[in-house]
């Protein structure tokens, strides 16, 4: 028996942990990576191009009139000729969306930090946030239109209300999902409430914040459009939603498609921007931004 223990214990296992402890520093094959990236970009583009081709061919083959379904060329033409009307409208919609998102970020995070300060505060105030969320924004927009000083600010308030809640609820969840042992550690080292908030709770909530940001960004655009439909605003300061309705009234379907295209491009841009911000903050440490390797 002593023989067995001898061989097991007499050789101090120094080299084994050192080997096993070496972090994965070797980069994967660069050419592989390059090819992966190309495919990631080319495949979706190819699919979109195919769909546009099918659309164009089927329109020209079936002979559908332009006022029912325009072909891709007619839409491109409308985009070009109506740029002067559509682009300012796009800017206005983009401005309302981004500004309301910014307000929702500030408001959502501040309110979330306030809520997690004590269980009583949360019990008292969280239902109000839920009520604001579950009430359809289209239903309150007539009221907001009456109270708000201008149509623009009414749209802003509507978009804010919609984007606010996902950011709030994700942030509350994130601030509360801190590792209990880390909280113990902070308590052990005599951390103040503010130190715990800034050094522990807020950093730990980052992944949740990013989820809220991505959902909120998408919802803010939807709300900005829906609220403008409901507001029925008109004239020089109108956004893309009004231009959509206007094109519909005039049976200018190519322009309607062009406006729609602009809206989706704006949506994609917001999604890309929020995803990029999420990648930028999380890619060094969070599992969601890591490629799984087995």
């Amino acid at each position: 028996m002593s023989d067995v223990t001898d061989t097991r214990h007499s050789a101090p296992p120094t080299s084994a942990p050192a080997l096993q402890n070496t972090p994965p520093l070797l980069a994967p094959n660069a050419r592989h990576k390059h090819r992966d990236l190309m495919l990631k970009i080319l495949i979706p583009i190819g699919v979109v191009v195919c769909l546009i081709l099918i659309w164009g061919i089927s329109v020209s083959v079936s002979g559908v009139p332009q006022y029912i379904l325009p072909g891709p060329l007619a839409v491109a033409n409308a985009l070009y000729t109506d740029w002067g009307t559509l682009f300012p409208a796009l800017l206005i919609t983009a401005k309302i969306t981004l500004f309301s998102l910014l307000l929702a970020l500030i408001g959502g995070c501040a309110f979330a930090i306030f809520l997690v300060q004590s269980r009583w505060i949360e019990t008292a105030f969280y239902p109000i946030a839920v009520i604001l969320q579950v009430t359809p924004v289209v239903a309150i927009s007539p009221l907001i239109l009456i109270y708000a000083p201008s149509t623009q600010s009414a749209l802003l308030i509507c978009a804010f209300l919609v984007a606010f809640f996902p950011i709030l609820s994700n942030m509350v969840q994130g601030l509360k999902s801190v590792d209990h042992n880390l909280l113990n550690l902070f308590e052990l080292y005599g951390a103040s409430r503010w130190q715990t908030l800034f050094y522990l709770q807020i950093p730990a909530a980052q992944p949740y914040f990013m989820t809220g940001l991505r959902i909120g960004g998408g919802l803010a655009l939807i709300a900005a459009v829906v609220a403008e439909f409901a507001a029925g605003s008109a004239g020089a300061g109108s956004g893309l939603a009004f231009r959509l309705l206007e094109a519909q009234f005039r049976m200018n379907i190519p322009r309607l498609f062009a406006a729609l295209l602009m809206l989706s491009v704006l949506g994609v841009a917001i999604f890309a921007l929020t995803s990029f911000i999420a990648w930028l903050t999380l890619h060094r440490w969070h599992e969601s931004s890591l490629k799984r390797e087995n």
Binding site: P12, P23, Y189, L290
Partner: protein, 273 residues
């Protein structure tokens, strides 16, 4: 037997005031479970105490109470040789190593070890020498800029130990720190902790459920039993050999394991009634 006597706490040190003084401490959880009943424990400076027992015997709870985490339901706890702050807790003298590495994933190794000093308002640049020294102690000086996810389980645990050491505490509390590691890494880290204890004279309270670990590391073993958690036996473990690979394969170690095992079995057996 020819090997010179190891560095045990000298008799003169016993005259100093104890580091921890627990008297008849009981702890009831909000669920109504009595986690700890009437536990008394006095730890002197320089001791390496193992709290050994089956799961659910309250050894982790006891360690948290010694750290000043959580309220006690009855009895008293004092840290006679520490400065007590306004909240009635010892200030800066105690460090804790949890069962998991408990690192902040968004911080580098450097940032994680910096934490205890940052909470005292010491900036990155003024804390740098202490952080590098603590990292060097655990053999991770080259990994200051790595993120926890880039490290293996054993290395994460070393970072956790470095963070505990960076404040130069008098008392190091370890809650089954190596339970989740493989045998080889665990032995290596056990040796590292022993070396640290010998070199710095730090006092260690080490929670474990491994007879072999407690017999290898400690010079005093407190065996606990469950339902409710309480002290079953408290005895010193004096060895003539220094604790290293030779000791691991010695008859003396085998004998010590057997003795500790007996006491533990007794604790489990008597706990059932």
């Amino acid at each position: 037997m020819i090997v010179p006597a190891p560095s045990l706490p000298l008799p003169s040190e016993a005259k100093r005031r104890p580091l921890v003084d627990m008297r008849a401490v009981s702890k009831m959880f909000s669920t109504g479970t009595l986690a700890l009943s009437d536990m008394s424990l006095t730890v002197q400076s320089g001791e390496f105490v193992s709290l050994l027992g089956p799961s659910g015997c309250g050894k982790s709870t006891a360690l948290r109470i010694i750290a000043g985490l959580g309220d006690i339901s009855a009895g008293s706890i004092d840290w006679p040789s520490s400065r007590i702050n306004a909240r009635g807790l010892p200030e800066g003298d105690i460090s804790f190593v949890f069962q998991e590495p408990t690192l902040m994933p968004w911080q580098t190794v450097f940032g994680n070890v910096h934490l205890p000093l940052k909470l005292r308002g010491i900036s990155r640049s003024s804390a740098r020498p202490a952080i590098i020294e603590a990292l060097a102690t655990v053999g991770l000086a080259d990994f200051a800029d790595a993120y926890p996810r880039e490290l293996s389980g054993g290395m994460k645990m070393r970072v956790s130990i470095a963070r505990a050491l960076v404040t130069k505490p008098k008392l190091l509390l370890m809650d089954e720190p190596f339970a989740a590691l493989d045998e080889i890494t665990r032995q290596k880290l056990n040796d590292d902790v022993l070396k640290l204890w010998r070199d710095t004279g730090i006092t260690v309270i080490f929670v474990t459920h491994s007879v072999f670990e407690s017999a290898y590391l400690s010079n005093r073993i407190v065996v606990m039993k469950a339902r409710p958690g309480r002290v079953h036996a408290d005895f010193p473990l004096v060895t003539s050999l220094s604790r290293d690979a030779l000791y691991r394969s010695s008859e003396e170690y085998r004998q010590a394991c057997e003795n500790v095992s007996k006491v533990l079995l007794d604790a489990i057996g008597s706990g059932e009634h």
